[in-house]
């Protein structure tokens, strides 16, 4: 993208030069790309924003098994980054720095570990980027809630997953938006 350039001071009675007028247009386009990650010519009206969440209690995450969280709905979906047909992944369609935040709300089980991490382009431990949380869960009957947050350099088409793990000894369910909530937000922040 072109760098911003100094503004022209136009003067009454003088014909404005094309280059000075075009400079305004270039600056507007650069501001648009800094703000949204897209050129003005794309007809953009927002930066990338997606927030899938769970609407029903469930998941049945097996004990001691790294598991992808699936979501049921989304509160925002600029660029169609989340699809019901692929409910575990969020795919940004703009290169740039993205802010990723996620929450897992666990049903109550025996005190043991609860983990949540954000992974890109894969669903193994090695795909978890520098963003994870491990907590000892509160004893039953308390639901455990934990969050993670990071800013990452993400290329268009990269798939983002939220991975969870627990070792309570039984399958564990995650809570929906009416019970503290299990969600992920993926928001464009700055150009590549």
């Amino acid at each position: 993208m072109p760098a911003m350039s100094g503004l022209t001071a136009f003067t009454d009675g003088l014909v404005p030069s094309a280059s000075n007028l075009n400079n305004l247009g270039t600056n507007i386009d650069t501001l648009c790309q800094i703000t949204t990650g897209k050129a003005a010519a794309t007809g953009v009206t927002s930066k990338g924003v997606t927030k899938p969440y769970k609407t029903v209690n469930g998941a049945a995450i097996p004990t001691s098994f790294l598991f992808r969280v699936a979501y049921n709905a989304t509160a925002g979906n600029v660029d169609s980054s989340w699809l019901m047909s692929y409910d575990t992944g969020v795919v940004p369609h703009r290169d740039g720095w993205w802010r990723i935040e996620a929450q897992a709300a666990w049903d109550p089980y025996a005190p043991s570990e609860r983990r949540i991490g954000i992974a890109v382009n894969g669903t193994n431990d090695s795909n978890i980027i520098a963003c994870s949380s491990t907590q000892m869960a509160a004893p039953n009957p308390y639901n455990q809630r934990q969050q993670v947050s990071c800013i990452s350099h993400i290329g268009s088409g990269t798939t983002i997953y939220v991975l969870v793990w627990q070792d309570s000894g039984v399958s564990a369910n995650l809570d929906p938006n009416t019970q503290w909530g299990t969600w992920v937000s993926v928001v464009w922040e700055a150009p590549w």
Partner: protein
């Protein structure tokens, strides 16, 4: 809001068309709304943001219903989202996506039980726990010492939406939330993207 449009390429010695100049204005106004949630004609100069802090210790009783934090002042409040008349919540004046954060610094539960819970919630449009809770942290304390919790939410908020910080603990004794100067208890919300 109008979508952004491609900038015109002007050519020397050609007459500048009104539509091309107006295109610039429309694009500037759209950029203004993407960044701030408001039109240029409102005279906006910043995106909506608010930060609330305590003016002293805030006591959280043990057990019972989730309590709501009452804030003492707003060091930053450029969209009149908070008023001391209703000091326990912010009210959204500009619809949009907001990043909301809260920190609670819990003082020692002197004489309290261990283990016990410290919960910090961000509530949207109501105080029911968990129905109105949109983001939450609960810490399972293995002692009675001080502890800090942070919670993040990212929400699509309409005009008039109300956001609160809820707190709950079950140490067996009242526990104070500490104000700034003692690590701090605070609540922020800032506009991020158009509704």
């Amino acid at each position: 809001m109008p979508a952004m449009m491609p900038p015109t390429t002007f050519v020397d010695s050609n007459i500048v068309r009104q539509a091309d100049l107006n295109n610039y204005s429309t694009n500037i106004d759209t950029l203004c709304q993407i960044n701030t949630g408001k039109k240029a004609s409102t005279g906006v100069s910043a995106k909506p943001a608010c930060k609330l802090i305590l003016s002293g210790n805030f006591s959280v009783p043990t057990g019972g219903a989730t309590g709501v934090v009452t804030w003492g002042s707003a060091p930053y409040n450029n969209d009149t989202m908070w008023s001391s008349v209703n000091p326990d919540h912010m009210v959204i004046q500009t619809p949009g996506w907001y990043r909301i954060r809260a920190q609670t610094y819990w003082g020692a539960a002197t004489g309290g039980a261990s283990p016990s819970e410290r919960a910090t919630n961000i509530h949207l449009n109501g105080l029911l726990d968990p129905l109105n809770v949109t983001a939450s942290s609960n810490l399972n304390m293995s002692g009675t010492a001080s502890v800090t919790a942070q919670v993040i939410a990212f929400e699509r908020l309409t005009l008039g939406a109300a956001i609160y910080v809820g707190v709950w603990q079950n140490s067996g004794v009242a526990v104070p939330l500490k104000p700034n100067g003692s690590w701090g208890t605070w609540f922020t919300a800032s506009y991020e993207a158009p509704y």
